[in-house]
């Protein structure tokens, strides 16, 4: 006797992702339409009760999505959503005068400069469940593996992309920062181009 394996019930139309309304920048109402790409739901409505163990989506080396479920082991949460440190924060120098601080070890004529990091506007970033690309996730490429893959995190060099599948290309958005104006390029586009191969390099892949 073998236990009958019954597949899980499929989503019905009532459970399908539906547009939802949110308030941004204090007073603006916005209708958000969730989209599902390669099994990943973007712009999904957040749970009314925030779940600290909310699954998030990582990416494999070739750019295919992989859902990660955080878990608590020995009182510590493992596989948590990554912390982006200060990669997406803007550094500003704040100057404090003596009148502002009134520090005991400060001369009245001195000024104190302190670097402050201002968080980015996460109005739209928060709708993305996929891990973002940061410089610490760069890989090494080239024959000697000595070239950083900037601005890309995925796909890795020499990955295989197969016909019919969807892959995510991810890059560090702040890589395209204009040095003169300190502004990040607001629009980008992705190109896929053919590369000529030598005859000895062609067809070496084991099918």
């Amino acid at each position: 006797a073998r236990a009958v394996h019954r597949p899980k019930e499929k989503m019905t139309t009532s459970e399908e992702v539906k547009p939802w309304v949110r308030t941004i920048y204090g007073s603006l109402n916005e209708i958000v339409t969730p989209t599902v790409i390669a099994g990943v739901t973007f712009s999904a409505k957040p749970d009314p009760t925030p779940n600290p163990l909310q699954p998030w989506v990582s990416l494999k080396k070739d750019g295919t999505p992989q859902t990660i479920k955080p878990e608590i082991k020995k009182g510590r949460t493992q596989k948590q959503k990554p912390d982006y440190s200060t990669y997406f924060k803007t550094a500003t120098m704040h100057t404090f005068s003596y009148e502002e601080l009134k520090a005991v070890n400060m001369d009245p004529d001195d000024v104190h400069e302190e670097e402050e990091f201002v968080d980015e506007d996460d109005t739209y970033v928060s709708l993305n469940p996929i891990i973002r690309c940061t410089p610490d996730r760069y890989f090494s490429k080239g024959p000697a593996k000595d070239i950083p893959s900037e601005p890309f995190c995925t796909p890795r060099e020499n990955s295989d992309w197969k016909v019919g599948k969807t892959y995510f290309v991810t890059w560090y958005t702040r890589f395209f920062e204009d040095e003169n104006s300190d502004t990040v390029a607001d629009k980008v586009r992705v190109h896929l181009s053919y590369v000529k191969e030598k005859s000895v390099e062609m067809g070496n892949h084991k099918r």
Binding site: F176, D178, A185, Y194
Partner: protein, 163 residues
């Protein structure tokens, strides 16, 4: 246009830093695999100054293998009671028809056993086996052959000692 480029996305917001790409079979141009380079062009760099090789990533697009096992869609159809079982019916019907034919044949032969007469057929076959060759002199092949008539072998008078 950047030479060798076969796919260019629309200008997208550089907010999340990601773009999903579905691989199309046309991109392979009737080959099994192609080596490609993926590059990102910011808005502030014009096409003339943009070089995809500068920060691009090299990778392969491949045809991939076809796995003949039920897909999620097929399983969902089966779960809903919709299945394409034509081959199953064909595979079952052929041996069934053969078995029915032999059963009918058996009853037909059993019913007509007494009325069956194959003697003319069998006699002819048996007569072929019992064919009489006939006289050697009448055989077509040997008619022209000059054959000596049988004569008695020479006999010798027996001597007295032999008696």
């Amino acid at each position: 246009d950047i030479s060798g480029t076969f796919f260019t996305s629309e200008w997208i917001d550089n907010v999340d830093g990601l773009l999903p790409i579905e691989i199309k079979e046309d991109w392979l141009q009737n080959t099994y695999e192609r080596r490609i380079i993926v590059s990102v062009q910011p808005y502030n760099i014009p096409d003339e100054d943009f070089d995809p090789r500068l920060n691009g990533v090299l990778l392969y697009i491949r045809m991939g293998s076809k796995v003949y096992k039920p897909t999620k869609e097929q399983l969902a159809l089966q779960d809903a009671g919709i299945s394409d079982d034509k081959w199953y019916y064909i595979a079952l019907s052929i041996p069934t028809v053969v078995v029915i034919f032999f059963v009918l044949m058996y009853f037909f032969l059993y019913a007509n056993g007494k009325n069956r007469d194959f003697t003319d057929v069998t006699r002819k076959a048996l007569n072929k086996k019992r064919r009489v060759l006939g006289k050697f002199s009448e055989m077509k092949k040997f008619k022209t052959m000059r054959n000596h008539k049988y004569t008695e072998l020479p006999s010798y008078k027996k001597t007295g000692k032999q008696n």
